[in-house]
């Protein structure tokens, strides 16, 4: 055949294109630097930065499920917050049963209690996600308005179920002994629990990237995000993939819920709905459907909230909305727009 007629050619991106493409990666360091200059004191900055990163990690955990579900299934799940609350309560139940482990000075027992609480919370929210997808989401695939209405309905129903099972009051959730108090690093106090949150959040991010980039399931998810119809035409039952990803997304909300509950030290049925404002901001900043964007967005929101909370407390919440506005003016589809075929 006519080999010579088809000349392959690789377009070399120009330097400005490369910088434009990589620019989101610089946002977090730049924000940290601005924070340092504005705050002045190194130790205060370090404390706030650790707090901001920890908060960002927890928001990332809660937001990651939402963004993947949106990317793959084109479903905006307004019920996501319910799984955050549900996870927190499920985790609380386990921590309550393991009271002895939590109060013990043994780090192993403390960590064991947290891991069991997390595992149980993820199990409960994953299974609840199964029911939610089958009963509520599946009938309305492709119909956005109905999705908003029914998932909001699901949110209310789940909150009411939490009232029924755990009662209507806020509950105090004690952190295990080993994760109370702070480390002192370079004159800055850094809460131990925040370090744990950062480690778990980072581990999750790395694990998600590995699964998405190195496994066949991940390949299917990435392909499905772009063109679900073609995935089906290649012979893969995408509805099963939807269900699995929905369950994982809900389990991640549950994980985030336990982490967030232990961070706030109180939990309530509406805690999920409250934190969803930040979660939505993060998902929009990152680009709906993008894990990388979600991660960067979460770090930005966490850091900015803590910096402005210290500098101009009244602006703490507004600042993240301003940040979202600024990002969208620069990149209307978010930091990492997801290319869809349809």
């Amino acid at each position: 055949m006519s080999n010579s007629l088809i000349k392959p050619r690789i377009e070399r991106p120009s330097l400005s294109q490369i910088i434009e493409a990589k620019a989101p990666l610089f946002l977090v360091p730049v924000l940290m630097l601005i924070g340092l200059l504005a705050i002045g004191s190194g130790s205060t900055w370090l404390t706030l930065t650790a707090a901001g990163l920890a908060m960002g990690m927890m928001i990332f955990i809660m937001a990651s499920g939402l963004t993947v579900i949106f990317g793959l299934m084109d479903v905006i799940n307004f019920g996501h917050g319910a799984f955050i609350s549900l996870g927190a309560f499920a985790g609380f139940t386990i921590l309550g049963l393991l009271g002895g482990w939590i109060e013990s000075p043994s780090i192993a027992l403390n960590l064991g209690a947290v891991l069991l609480a997390v595992a149980f919370a993820m199990l409960v929210t994953g299974l609840a996600g199964y029911g939610f997808e089958r009963l509520i989401v599946k009938p309305v695939y492709g119909q956005h308005l109905k999705q908003i209405l029914v998932t909001m309905g699901g949110l209310v129903v789940t909150q009411q179920l939490i009232y029924v099972i755990w009662g209507p009051d806020e509950i105090v959730l004690a952190r295990p002994a080993a994760f109370q108090g702070s480390f002192v690093v370079l004159g800055a106090a850094i809460e131990k629990y925040r370090v744990l949150a950062i480690v778990i959040g980072l581990a999750l991010f790395v694990a998600m990237r590995l699964v998405l980039n190195r496994t066949r399931i991940g390949l299917l998810v990435r392909a499905g995000v772009q063109n679900g119809e073609m995935v089906e035409a290649l012979g893969y039952p995408i509805k099963k993939l939807f269900l699995a990803v929905f369950m994982v997304g809900c389990a991640l909300a549950g994980l985030g819920g336990v982490m967030w509950g232990m961070y706030q030290e109180t939990i309530s049925a509406h805690m999920g709905a409250e934190v969803m404002i930040s979660v939505f901001i993060v998902v929009i900043i990152g680009g709906l459907g993008s894990i990388e964007g979600c991660f960067i967005g979460a770090m930005l929101v966490g850091l900015l909230t803590n910096y402005t909370g210290f500098l101009i407390p009244k602006l703490a919440l507004v600042s993240t909305i301003l940040l979202m506005g600024a990002v969208l003016m620069w990149r209307p589809q978010g930091l990492y727009p997801v290319v869809k075929a349809h």
């Binding site: 007629l5 035409a233 290649l234 893969y236 290319v339 075929a341």
Partner: protein, 244 residues
Amino acid sequence: MSDALLSLNGIHTHIGPYHILQGVDLEVPRGGVTVLLGRNGAGKTTTLRTIMGLWQASQGTIRFDGAAIQKETTPAIAQREIAFVPEDMGIFSDLTVHENMLLAARGGAIDEERLGWIFGLFPPLKTFWQSAAGNLSGGQKQMLAVARAIIEPRKLILIDEPTKGLAPAIINAMIAALKELKELKEMQTTILLVEQNFSMARAVGDTVAVMDDGRIVYSGDMAELAADTGLQERLMGLSLEAHQ
């Protein structure tokens, strides 16, 4: 024809309020290339999508290899060893060429020997193996779309206008590839090809069907149609008239 691999009988397809296919009867004999011709909007793409289950037929039967498939889901139909190259190519642009091919190989691993053969047909795929498929040119994307359909043996390949918007050189490459695929008899691959380009259609087609307004208006041997300019004119003329 009793030895048809695929046969559509009185197929009707509605898209929303529109009645697009209005009783399509089509036979695709085993082991050859059947070309589906017809003016723009005749319903060729809708026919392929209905076969794949991407649109649900509201009436009629589709038999493939002895089984009625018109009620099956798209993945189930694809698992019957039917490959589909859609009109928009359906490339996963954020995935590399390699990853696109990996997904097409349902068995999980790519057969190296077969891949070598595909690289021979479409050398750019080798060059850009690790590049994002979205960066390929239109013709290269078309090569990838066809390559995905042939990376594993399939009983039937549905191809929707692989020459759309391509330069003559690449059309020739496509013709060569399809001919080679056809000549590999031991693979027993049957092709249903939608094509507007009559020279391509004539070069590779064994049988031909012409569609207009959601129905098959002619079907027969390609050689007959190629030899009969009067018939061609009648069919093409009809198409042109209808088009205006």
